[in-house]
Symmetry: C2
Subunit: 157 residues, 2 copies
């Protein structure tokens, strides 16, 4: 029976390795935390879209666009109100605060860049749109800039 190589010992715990492991942990922590913001961004993005096209954002429409029930929307909106991204009044539609509008703008901007970038790479429209939905939330400023640069290079030949 294969027993422990380095038993009960927190793996090869030299400092170099420890730092690498801590870095890895930090990346995972960041990614997990990002997940909370992702949903917030999706909501404000959709809300901004709806306000632009319909003049207002109603819970049912948000629900339809996100593919959830209106109950889920109501609950999540409550969180976003707590976080001061949107505001509501009972039985009235949903508004963005200044912070919410800013976040929506940022999200939309990033989203567009990612889509454009993927298309420039030769990815189909459908896949570009689908993948961007997931990717956009995990792109650092540095990477986003690299995406933009690539698009520019492609356009200027």
């Amino acid at each position: 029976m294969a027993r422990r190589i380095s038993p009960q010992n927190p793996e090869s715990r030299n400092t170099t390795d420890g730092r690498r492991v801590e870095q890895q942990a930090e990346n995972h922590r960041r990614t997990r935390k990002a997940h909370l913001s992702e949903i917030a961004e999706d909501y404000v993005e959709v809300i901004a879209e709806l306000i632009d096209s319909n003049g207002e954002a109603r819970a049912v429409d948000i629900a339809r666009r996100l593919g959830v029930t209106h109950v889920t929307v109501v609950k999540t909106i409550a969180r976003l109100v707590r976080e001061d991204l949107v505001s509501t009044k009972p039985y009235r539609s949903i508004f963005l605060t200044d912070a919410g509008r800013q976040l929506a703008e940022k999200a939309r901007h990033r989203h567009q860049i990612v889509v454009r970038f993927l298309k420039s790479l030769g990815v189909s429209d459908a896949a570009a749109n689908a993948d961007a939905e997931g990717i956009e939330h995990h792109v650092s400023a540095e990477t986003l800039q690299a995406f933009e640069q690539y698009c520019r290079r492609m356009n200027h030949e």
Copy 2:
């Protein structure tokens, strides 16, 4: 007071628009669902790493690498056992099933491609590693292929 543009009417509900909205909803649904697999992939990836380097994967080591407590690991591992990705015995370390090993291999492969791709684009090592952690789970087969192709083009000068 601004009243409804198109009151009580599920937005401009012509068929064309309806299809677009349904597509958007579907993308969001997929992205949300992906989140469950993400965590599974992170776990099997780390477990595979640990088995390679240490000969075994212990809960504490997984915890350290993912930046969570061992309790969280134990709980999540229970789910992965239910999903037949890993197997355990009380007070023994953690093993991958065939399905788990396969998933780990796939995840690792994708992860490497994404990192390599980002670096080829000119992104720093740190950012490439950090962003890949989030991006890798949202890259479709088609996009992954585009990434690989780009890397190949870069290497062949």
